[in-house]
């Protein structure tokens, strides 16, 4: 039976032989496992043997074994460094395979656009208000200065529930509800679903989304309305977008305005443009100074306070911004449409 020292000698020889054949890191690792492996490595086993030696032999053998271990470790490190220049140990065959993906759902484009609008106004110190979708004639019309049986109501064709209740045709009733509860200064936007009795066509549906804005305070002017809406539209469509204000009529504002923005599709160059019809302009929102009668209806003194309001259709705006040809896409909920907004 050979002594431990003999075995060390044999293993040293074996190591030298094997080490001379090592070329790659993988082979070096195999060699390291063979000698230094934690369970079955030659050296580990030698240390096991050492435990069984009589005490008098143990000391010398242990010293030799430890020296041998250091030697092997040193040689291994050198060997591994030599192999270092080569590849890492576990190789991937094809790095061009796609990475692991999380499959995220898509927000609805209306939600996206609405959030974007809210974000801009919140940054200007506006807060967001909401109100019921089922409304009374008073809030939807009368308080907003639509007399009963007035033709002005024709542009707000209404779905009725009964003689008292209707589906709100705009988010404007929330203006009234807020002004009834709160004293000026008021600085709010009101997003929400609205309903009209419209026969569906490419640009009309009986349900769509609106955002409305309202500012009431002392000394508010039409110039403030212009400045704020210009900033908003530039924030949404970019610094360079052109816009124009032109007179219009709404029962709840006086003076009233409509805002057109430059057609971002043809810039007025295409007489058959699908978006602007060749005019070069696209009507996107209505606005104006709050009508004094509206103030009276909520007990705000129009001599003391003034205010401006605007309203826009989110669907129409999103159609324009994303160049979506038909409004119905928003409510068909075809995944091939919706999933495109994953990247927005």
């Amino acid at each position: 039976m050979s002594t431990l020292q003999d075995k060390i000698k044999e293993y040293r020889q074996l190591f030298t032989d094997l080490a001379s054949k090592v070329k790659e890191a993988k082979e070096a690792e195999e060699l390291r496992q063979l000698f230094l492996g934690r369970k079955k490595g030659h050296l580990t086993l030698l240390f096991e043997e050492l435990k069984n030696l009589p005490l008098e032999e143990k000391k010398a053998a242990g010293k030799a074994l430890n020296e041998f271990k250091e030697e092997i470790q040193k040689l291994m490190t050198e060997l591994e460094q030599k192999c270092q220049t080569r590849k890492p140990e576990r190789l991937i065959d094809d790095l061009t395979q796609p990475g692991r993906k999380l499959y995220w759902g898509s927000p609805h484009p209306i939600t996206l656009f609405q959030r974007e609008i809210e974000r801009i106004f919140i940054s200007m110190g506006f807060s967001v208000e909401e109100g019921p979708e089922i409304e009374t004639d008073y809030y939807n019309f009368e308080a907003l200065n639509f007399p009963p049986h007035h033709p002005a109501r024709d542009s707000w064709d209404t779905l009725y529930i009964n003689d008292k209740l209707l589906l709100r045709t705009h988010t404007s009733p929330v203006q009234i509800r807020v002004m009834e509860k709160k004293k000026p200064p008021i600085r709010i936007i009101i997003p929400g679903k609205v309903f009209r009795r419209e026969t569906p066509d490419p640009t009309h549906l009986p349900m769509f989304y609106q955002v409305e804005g309202l500012v009431v305070d002392k000394g508010i002017t039409f110039a403030h309305l212009k400045g704020t809406l210009e900033y908003f539209i530039k924030a949404l469509f970019g610094e360079k977008i052109k816009l124009r204000f032109r007179p219009s009529f709404f029962p709840f504002t006086e003076p009233s305005a409509e805002v057109d923005i430059e057609c971002i599709v043809c810039h007025g160059q295409d007489p058959h443009c699908r978006v602007c019809g060749g005019s070069g302009w696209k009507e996107i929102l209505g606005a104006g100074m709050v009508d004094p009668q509206v103030f009276k209806n909520v007990n705000i003194d129009p001599e003391k306070y003034s205010g401006w309001a605007f309203g826009l259709g989110i669907d129409r705006m999103a159609m324009f911004a994303f160049q979506i040809p038909e409004i119905r896409y928003f409510y068909e909920n075809d995944l091939r449409f919706l999933r495109q907004f994953n990247r927005k």
Partner: protein, 680 residues
């Protein structure tokens, strides 16, 4: 409203090209929708507003343009070839309701040769998009589109008796209109009648029997004013909208009637007509003109720009308003009868702004004096909830709030639906009482269009009657998952969705909203297969349900795949305040864990085990994790095995093995009594 360039020239000597005119229209708010070249003329389709009946004739539009361009408005004489008889020799006018008919003018024209109109008149009629009929009808249309005052012409010889009576219709009366349909009149409608019968529906349409034909030679011209609301209600009730009713319901100038009658009579003289002497003008209660105060200071206050007083005076005068300055830069403004829209100072300021040019008003930042804290974080919470669902792979949809009553019946939502009085169609005649029917429709739509899986949600209101007269709008979240799910790795197959994908998303969204007292309870629900549905509870309040959709419901939509869906009441959820967050210190000393496997009665569900584990009261126990549930051959029948890992930690030192051993004994004995566990 169609406006002809040539026709405008009858009222104002235009010095600008048709292209420049289009820009002028836009500046003052008469938005040009389209432009057409017809026969050397330019015709503009102009958007008019419900409060501006004066722009429904060329005269009113010419007045606007003349004011903008600072040109005079032309006036024209309307000479008459007169008969020797006075008008009242032929006819008598009697107004029974001067509220509904404040003014009625009439003239008789005898000996008119009815026939085709001359070219100039045909051209005018065609320019406004009408078909020339004969000279008499064309003349009345010409007058209407010139002045905005509708007139009506009767065949004098077909009027029974020499009397025109303006009265309400009698019950059961009918009239055959010029359009040829027989109309049943109701007692609130105003009619023009002769001694025996109605001959016209006042301000809406004439009767066929008294109408102008080729044989007509004597014409009675009616030029009257009617109450806007009455005309509107009649036209609406009859489903008739005519050029006349369109104008009357917006309010026609009370003082236009005499001129319109004279103008029509004068034009008929060109066709051999001779006009009765003296206009019959029944106008019992003369209307006073309105006066509105105007302050220069207020203009600047409202518009944010100083506008010179001269500009104000010039513009308003041009529009036919009369200004009396009674203090410096303070005026009393008399409003002409044709401007029914001008009632307050703000209305006058709008006129000034329109002509001054909105583009010349500066753009300024709206000043902020204070910021307000958001009253609730509802919208943020909703967005957060949507984000959780996006992460779980659900796409957001938005459906109409309308529902098909037949389809909703299948669902038995148990809610009293709200019916619409005038729905677009019978299939959208109620408001939805649940979000799930819409989501199912979306699934079907997409499966029919190559989708292999549909995983969607919607946040929106459902609506229902709570009591007879009390309705509710409830914000809900609906989630649906059916079909295949996308794998994470490209070469893995897609997998069928399952119940726990839905449940996991729901658990996560409650967790991210800060609610940790969520629990579930088996429930029988009409939407779901029996034994395959859970009620969602927050503390002890139900906030929703989820489960496997009943196959009968799925089949009625021709869906064969299993559908898992959930509906959660958000209005309730968002009202609740989640636990306030506070930081917990990061442990300084190492913890230790021990595993325990045990058997319990198979009737005991996971949630019950979890609940009992949470209730454990054991020193140093930091938490636990149930990591296995097993039932099989090695387990005695009627039993199920659970494996739990318990974590222990002391806050201020390292735990000793004996302490953990003691704690484990404690746990075992507590579970023996609460869950009757048997150790494995």
């Amino acid at each position: 409203m169609k406006i002809s360039y040539d026709w405008l020239k009858e009222f104002v000597d235009l010095t600008i090209s048709p292209e420049e005119l289009a820009h002028c229209f836009n500046q003052i708010g008469l938005m040009v929708e389209s432009v057409e070249k017809i026969d050397g003329d330019t015709v503009y389709e102009i958007e008019t507003y419900a409060n501006r009946p004066d722009t429904l004739g060329h005269l009113g539009v010419a007045r606007e343009i003349a004011t903008l361009l600072d040109l005079p408005l032309k006036t024209k004489n309307w000479p008459l070839v007169e008969l020797s008889q006075v008008t009242s020799d032929f006819i008598d006018i009697q107004i029974m309701d001067s509220q509904l008919c404040p003014r009625y003018c009439g003239l008789v024209v005898k000996g008119v040769k009815v026939g085709p109109s001359p070219d100039w008149l045909r051209k005018r009629i065609e320019a406004v998009g009408l078909r020339p009929i004969n000279n008499v009808v064309d003349v009345s249309n010409y007058v209407c589109f010139s002045l905005g005052q509708p007139i009506h012409t009767f065949d004098l010889n077909k009027l029974g008796g020499a009397r025109i009576i303006v009265r309400k219709a009698r019950k059961g009366e009918t009239i055959r209109t010029l359009e040829g349909s027989l109309v049943e009149l109701s007692p609130e409608m105003l009619v023009i009648a002769d001694e025996t019968r109605p001959v016209a529906i006042a301000g809406v349409i004439g009767g066929e029997e008294s109408g102008i034909t080729e044989e007509t030679s004597d014409v009675f011209i009616e030029s009257a004013n009617f109450d806007p609301v009455s005309i509107r209600l009649t036209a609406k009730k009859l489903g008739l909208s005519t050029d006349a009713s369109y104008r009357f319901e917006r309010g026609v100038d009370i003082n236009a009637a005499p001129l319109a009658a004279t103008m029509a009579a004068s034009l008929l003289c060109a066709f051999g007509g001779k006009v009765s002497k003296g206009l019959l003008d029944v106008y019992p209660n003369q209307k006073k003109s309105r006066t509105v105060p105007l302050r220069l200071k207020r203009i600047a206050e409202l518009l944010g720009v100083e506008i010179p007083a001269e500009f104000v005076v010039k513009t308003l005068t041009g529009l036919g308003l009369k200004l009396k300055e009674h203090k410096k830069n303070v005026w009393a403004v008399e409003i002409p009868s044709f401007r029914v829209d001008l009632e307050r100072e703000a209305d006058l300021i709008e006129e000034i702004a329109r002509f001054y040019g909105y583009d010349k008003i500066p753009s300024e930042v709206t000043p902020v004096k204070s910021f307000e804290l958001p009253s609730d974080r509802k919208r943020e919470k909703i967005w957060r909830l949507k984000e959780v669902l996006f992460h779980h792979g659900f796409d957001e949809v938005i459906n109409f709030s309308f529902a098909d009553p037949e389809k909703e019946k299948i669902w038995q939502t148990g809610r009293q639906p709200i019916q619409l009085q005038n729905p677009i169609s019978s299939r959208s005649s109620i408001l939805r009482t649940s979000l799930l029917p819409g989501l199912i429709e979306n699934a079907v739509w997409n499966f029919n269009r190559e989708a292999e899986g549909v995983h969607i949600f919607e946040v929106g209101n459902v609506y229902f009657w709570v009591e007879d007269d009390v309705h509710e709008e409830n914000l809900c979240l609906g989630i649906l998952t059916t079909g295949l799910r996308e794998p994470q790795t490209w070469n893995e197959p897609k997998k069928e969705t399952d119940f726990f994908i839905l449940k996991g998303a729901i658990e996560d969204l409650f967790c991210y909203l800060g609610f940790d007292s969520l629990s579930f309870e088996p429930v029988d629900h009409p939407f779901f297969e029996s034994g395959q549905a859970l009620k969602i509870l927050l503390k002890n309040d139900p906030v929703g349900h989820l489960g496997l959709l009943k196959s009968e419901i799925a089949r009625s939509y021709e869906l064969a795949k299993p559908v898992f869906c959930a509906e959660i009441d958000l209005s309730m959820l968002l009202q609740r305040q989640p636990k306030p967050f506070s930081f917990k210190p990061i442990p300084k000393f190492p913890g230790t864990s021990r595993d325990l496997s045990f058997l319990v009665d198979e009737n005991i569900c996971y949630q019950e085990i979890h609940r009992q584990l949470q209730r454990l009261n054991v020193p140093y126990l930091e938490g636990f994790e149930i990591y296995d549930r097993f039932q099989g051959k090695s387990i005695p029948p009627g039993k199920v095995s659970f494996s739990v890992r318990f974590f222990f930690r002391h806050q201020t030192r390292t735990l000793q093995a004996e302490e953990v051993d003691r704690a484990m004994l404690d746990i075992t004995s507590q579970l023996k009594s609460s869950l009757k566990i048997q150790l494995r």
